[in-house]
């Protein structure tokens, strides 16, 4: 309502323009927020995307090339064309990480600007330094947008659209996928998020919005010049997003509005204005690294006690958010037989992993049977974690092959391995610390869902169905851990959980991918004896009650003894023993590996 009235209560055209421009900045900042905020990618070509949109509009809607397409066509063309450029740039630079991505995109932005400046000879395309001006007025089915008020509506209409879209996408599998990537890219990939694809989607999404904003801006200014799309503009959008708080939508909007109004009060002071900008940036980064809104949001949240519900009633930790109709604790019906079988589900054939001369895993073959717990033991550096990395696809083996249920999975990417049905935990805890417990579990469902951006933005049935399913599954899996991970803890940040609960969360996250095989890397590390007994029981019940097949790395030998069906021992990447726990524990080679030569009966 405010937005509808606003253009009419603006005191004059100047403030009306600021109002309209701030709508445009909101749009731009939210677009950048998708790339930099949601997905955490340092995209410095963003301003070039803005420019590509602007110049696309300029070329298709003016006398420059004598092309006069209607706006209703040019706007989508500009947005989609920019998106395609974004995807092209993204796919060539996506394998670069962090700062390198920033550098390549910065170079791209510089090249873009130089081309704008120089593509007026030999053929005049961009108009060079003189830019392009005098565009066709926007015409929506006979309704012409010329007046400043009409532009204010038009631009804020899109700004509101982008805002709503941002909220929707944030609360979807996309939003969770991106957040997971931002928190820990490797863990995200290993839990089934197709990180390459998702990053590309973020790039494309940002470019799409920037392109559309560029077209709107060009029409609004009725001219485009290379200076419109230069480094200072990039800095301004970044400031808006970071001041507001990366990923925080209301914050980014506030940042955009503040930074488009504030300079107007300071325009008369020239260099002092820029100086104070610099100072504000430094001070703000030091005192409020999470952005202005990040801090405000934190204050608001603090008032609500996590152990109370909305009415102030104390929440019991046993109060689980169960769907009445959901089958309790049933992960999958097909796994309801508890008997072990001799069917091989995972096979490794002569697998070798060579790190520049050091063979972390050397010619290793092993077979994992359905509903079996196989423990891997061995001294530090024996290649146990490397084995997990090989199976889960983080490293492709140099030699050898890996089969899952008869299908070769050698060389698949981690998220494809997860999708096939193998998921893992990490020895050194790689939870998405800033995401809630529930969202951590929901990320696991990423590879089981397929809603695309359109389903999410328009809440099509596919999205709604999958969201409900994801929600149910995640709560179900967390429910396995009882009060530890349910009730008010659903909304708690994973990073605030106790150490043991974080270990449990790792397992819950792996379970939530609907995998058949779990690779558990030291699940009881750092736990006290009581907790260790509990987690041992739990792992056992995963096999006995739910039919999981489990490959376990464990140093606590009493755990290994209690639950293992079979044990293998590794040393220097070579399998030195295999068999029942007793057989392995009494093997000469194993004792040697742990303690050196000539020692008897260490394990009893």
């Amino acid at each position: 309502m405010m937005l509808i009235v606003a253009p009419h209560i603006m005191p004059n055209n100047y403030w009306l323009r600021i109002y309209t421009m701030s709508g445009l900045w909101v749009m731009l900042a939210l677009g950048l927020n998708v790339v930099a905020g949601f997905a955490g990618l340092l995209d410095l070509a963003y301003v070039a995307f803005f420019g590509i949109g602007g110049y696309t509009f300029a070329l298709l809607s003016s006398s420059q090339l004598n092309v006069h397409l209607p706006f209703i066509l040019v706007l989508p063309i500009a947005a989609v064309f920019t998106m395609l450029i974004g995807i092209t740039l993204g796919s060539t630079s996506m394998r670069l990480k962090g700062d390198y991505l920033a550098i390549v995109t910065l170079a791209f932005a510089q090249i873009f600007k130089l081309l704008l400046l120089n593509l007026d000879t030999p053929v005049n395309i961009t108009g060079g330094v003189n830019g392009i001006f005098g565009f066709d007025p926007i015409n929506f089915f006979g309704f012409r947008i010329i007046s400043s008020v009409a532009y204010a509506y038009l631009i804020w209409f899109f700004a509101v659209g982008v805002t709503l879209g941002s909220f929707r996408i944030k609360r979807s599998r996309f939003g969770r996928g991106w957040e997971a990537i931002r928190e820990d890219e490797l863990a995200a990939e290993a839990i089934g998020v197709n990180t390459t694809w998702m990053k590309l989607m973020a790039f494309a999404g940002g470019a799409f919005i920037a392109g559309a904003a560029g077209a709107l801006f060009a029409s609004f200014q009725d001219s485009v010049f290379p200076n419109n799309f230069d480094f200072p503009q990039l800095v301004i959008v970044y400031c808006m997003v970071i001041l507001g708080g990366l990923g925080n939508i209301p914050g980014v909007i506030l940042g955009a509005v503040l930074l488009s109004i504030l300079p107007e009060f300071l325009r008369e002071y020239g260099a002092y204005r820029m100086m104070s900008y610099g100072l504000i940036l430094i001070v703000l980064m030091a005192l409020r690294p999470q952005g202005i809104m990040g801090e405000v949001g934190f204050l608001i949240r603090k008032k609500i006690r996590p152990d109370k519900d909305q009415t102030g009633r104390l929440r019991t930790s046993t109060e689980l958010y169960y769907d009445e109709n959901a089958k309790p604790l049933g992960i999958s019906e097909s796994k309801s037989q508890y008997a072990k079988s001799s069917l091989a589900v995972l096979e490794l054939n002569h697998v070798t992993m060579d790190f520049g001369g050091i063979k972390a895993v050397d010619d290793l073959s092993l077979v994992l049977h359905e509903r079996e717990i196989l423990s891997v033991i061995g001294p530090n550096g024996a290649g146990k974690t490397t084995l997990f990395n090989l199976i889960s696809g983080i490293y492709p083996p140099n030699v050898g092959s890996i089969y899952f249920e008869g299908r070769e999975i050698t060389g698949l990417k981690p998220h494809q391995v997860v999708k096939a049905g193998i998921s893992r935990t990490f020895q050194n805890l790689r939870l998405f610390n800033k995401m809630s417990v529930l969202d951590n579990a929901k990320v696991g469902q990423f590879c089981r869902t397929s809603a695309g951006p359109l389903s999410i933005l328009f809440h099509l049935p596919l999205h709604t169905k999958e969201e409900n399913e994801t929600d149910r599954k995640a709560k179900e899996v967390l429910g396995l851990f009882g009060a530890r991970l349910t009730g008010y803890r659903f909304d708690q940040q994973a990073g605030f959980l106790s150490y043991a609960n974080r270990r449990r969360m790792e397992i819950a996250r792996a379970l939530s991918t609907d995998a058949k095989i779990l690779l558990l890397d030291e699940p009881s590390a750092g736990m006290n004896p009581q907790e260790t007994i509990e987690i041992t029981e739990f792992i056992k019940s995963l096999r006995d009650l739910f039919g999981y097949t489990i490959l376990l790395i464990e140093h606590k030998l009493n755990v290994v003894r209690t639950i293992s069906d079979r044990v293998i021992a590794l040393d220097y990447g070579i399998k030195i023993a295999e068999g029942s726990y007793e057989e392995v524990a009494n093997s000469e080679k194993v004792i040697e590996a742990y303690l050196g030569r000539k020692r008897q009966r260490v394990f009893s």
Partner: protein, 310 residues
């Protein structure tokens, strides 16, 4: 074709001088990145302030186009004071803008550096004005010595000086890093900041030292460029910073030999690009080279590939 060939010797000289300057700036970027993993956007301004400091020394020691003391002494003083002033600026920026953010996300650090850059640039604009300052080097070198003809090419005294000082400073730096205890501590800190601190390295001191050395070299570059191209103004930092940064990445950021190589290659590439293409495209060439190198060898020409730890 001939028209290109006859330019070539001169263009190589042009490229080499410019490349030396880029290399000096690049080292500052590279050292800071190597230790903190941070792109110090403010480094270009540190270079600019070095230029002003050098100008100020020359200005104070010149009366009516005559230097008050010997020219060699003036030049050394210019470089030394420029280094000192720049080092001070770098260290102060580290203390107040970067240290509080040591554990903050990368993007915050980047933004803080940007803040420092904007602040310094406009501070100079406010107190020094937008006017260009001139280095009246006529007082330093007699007319006859300014230009040396070598075949078809022309080599100026200042160019020789810049190249000599650049290589001298780079040589000193490598000796320091390779041979001294502090150098060892620096290398250790660059590899693993935490582990180095456990081994008794005073990490804060090393970081300050890195900013000090990096900024000092930037300052030296500022003064040398002043002597070479005879002008400095408050805006030179942006362009120079961008180029130095490109050079650092080209060679492999975090690696000082890479920075040296990257700088010189970049200078040569630009000079050659101007020879064969419209000169408006020389920066396009520079950035395309950068992108191609990064996509083929993301760790740069000299840098080492590091496998990610899981």
């Amino acid at each position: 074709m001939e028209i290109y060939l006859q330019q070539l010797p001169q263009q190589l000289i042009n490229g080499l001088t410019l490349g030396g300057v880029y290399a000096l700036i690049a080292i500052g970027y590279s050292m800071v990145y190597g230790i903190l993993g941070m792109l110090n956007f403010a480094h270009g301004e540190v270079y600019m302030i070095g230029g002003f400091a050098g100008w100020w020394v020359l200005h104070l020691l010149t009366r009516n186009n005559e230097v008050l003391i010997s020219a060699a002494l003036v030049i050394s003083l210019m470089i030394i004071i420029a280094m000192a002033v720049s080092a001070l600026v770098g260290v102060v920026a580290e203390r107040f803008a970067y240290r509080p953010l040591r554990n903050a996300p990368r993007m915050n650090l980047l933004l803080s550096a940007l803040g420092v850059s904007i602040f310094l640039q406009n501070l100079v604009l406010t107190y020094q004005g937008a006017k260009v300052r001139f280095f009246h080097i006529g007082a330093l070198i007699p007319e006859g010595l300014r230009v040396i003809h070598i075949g078809p090419a022309v080599f100026s005294f200042m160019r020789a000086l810049v190249i000599a000082v650049t290589f001298l400073l780079m040589g000193l730096l490598s000796v320091m890093i390779k041979r001294t205890k502090v150098g060892k501590a620096m290398r250790a800190t660059a590899q693993d900041l935490e582990a180095a601190s456990f081994m008794g390295v005073d990490v804060n001191r090393i970081i300050v030292l890195v900013f000090l050395i990096g900024s000092a070299l930037g300052g030296a570059a500022g003064a040398l460029v002043g002597l070479l191209f005879t002008q400095v103004d408050y805006y030179v930092g942006f362009q120079a910073g961008l180029k130095g940064f490109t050079a650092a990445v080209l060679g492999g950021i975090g690696n000082i030999y890479g920075a040296m190589l990257g700088g010189i290659l970049l200078g040569l590439a630009e000079a050659l690009a101007v020879t064969f293409l419209p000169s408006a495209y020389k920066d396009v060439v520079a950035f395309v080279i950068l992108i191609v190198v990064l996509i083929v060898r993301p760790w740069g020409l000299v840098g080492e590939k590091m496998p990610e730890k899981v």
